[in-house]
Amino acid sequence: MPQVFHRSSNTLARLSIVTGAALLVSSVLIGSNLSRSPYVTQVGAPVDQPVPFSHKHHVKELGIDCRYCHSTVETSAVASVPPTHTCMSCHSQVWTNSPLLEPVRQSYLNGTPIQWNKVYDLPDFVYFNHSIHVQKGIGCNTCHGPIHEMNITYKAQPLSMSWCLDCHRQPEKYIRPKEEVFNYNYQPPANQMELGKKLVQEYHVKKEQLTNCSICHR
């Protein structure tokens, strides 16, 4: 009986095994890296808004405190996107003819809210609360990045569960004195871990609770 396969088939067979394995491994690697990449997480991608609001101008150049607009951030789960009334408390007097602000004026006249596009959109099964973070010494910049440098607001952090857990496992890495929470110029000191451990104790941050599933998922 003649041979069905040529001798070269041996090499082909071995090669296909190796290629198959490589494909499998690389697809897993590509998949896991892609899902962490800014392409998927949208980190650093400015989000279009009905009004091109600049945090840089309002926060850094004019020196307006975060809480002037996000006035519920210390007491409520949501920091609150300000109502048009807040915009108009200055813009009824300042830049009153600017065409960029036309949607703001229209909103104020009609009583219909401006539909801002969400930048930090958590899944609905995550229950995030701003007030507890702010009250326990987590600064705005820790999650919102250099917001005082953003002309159009973008996401500065991936908001992945591993990102949340990084801090929930070791809050001492990021915690800062309460009076520095709204200070966007704050730089963590060289002895952050030392200071952090002290603050975690002082502010009664119960570390062992922070990794409970139900702290975030209810």
Binding site: Y68, S71, S80, Q93
Partner: protein, 205 residues
Amino acid sequence: MKQTRRRLLALIIATAAVMSLAGCHTDMWHQPKLKAQSANNFFADGKTDRPLVTNSVPVGYLRDNEAFYTGKVANKPVAQLPVPLTRELLQRGQERYNVFCSPCHGKVGDGQGMIAQRGLALRRPPATFHTDRLRGMPVGYFYDVITNGFGVMYSYASRIPPEDRWAIAAYVRVLQLSQYAKTNELTPEDLRKLQESTTNTESKP
């Protein structure tokens, strides 16, 4: 026998494929529930957040203390602070003042805040607190202005709760005092600081 085993294998692979595909769904990411500040086409104004029903009072929000909640008694601004005057109150007032008032009125209350400086077209510049008229106003007047606005100033009632309005009103008094403090009333340390700053910069009298 061989065939059943093969069928079983195919079934397992198919189940695994379907399950992993099902993992791609996002209906738990976007649940059909109402979240704060979300859009809602059920109501005419498009908002999920509902305003209070007219003439209703939420539990715990009965405002029966007229002086405390309106700053007035019999339509006259109260002259007496309706809360205890403490160091903490003034510090709270300073913090809240710097957040909500200083953009227009300036950190020393001279009406030279950043918005006042920027708003070249301001029809009516923000007030300085250091005029005789405002120095003579009872403390309840400042509470009333924060609550209801004044002139082109909008109401800040939605952003500043009553307790903080009184803290700010008390702090306005601190600012007023600061611009008219007499040198012989200063502590030696403050006096030294003042002398240093006046010799370093030839500041205004």
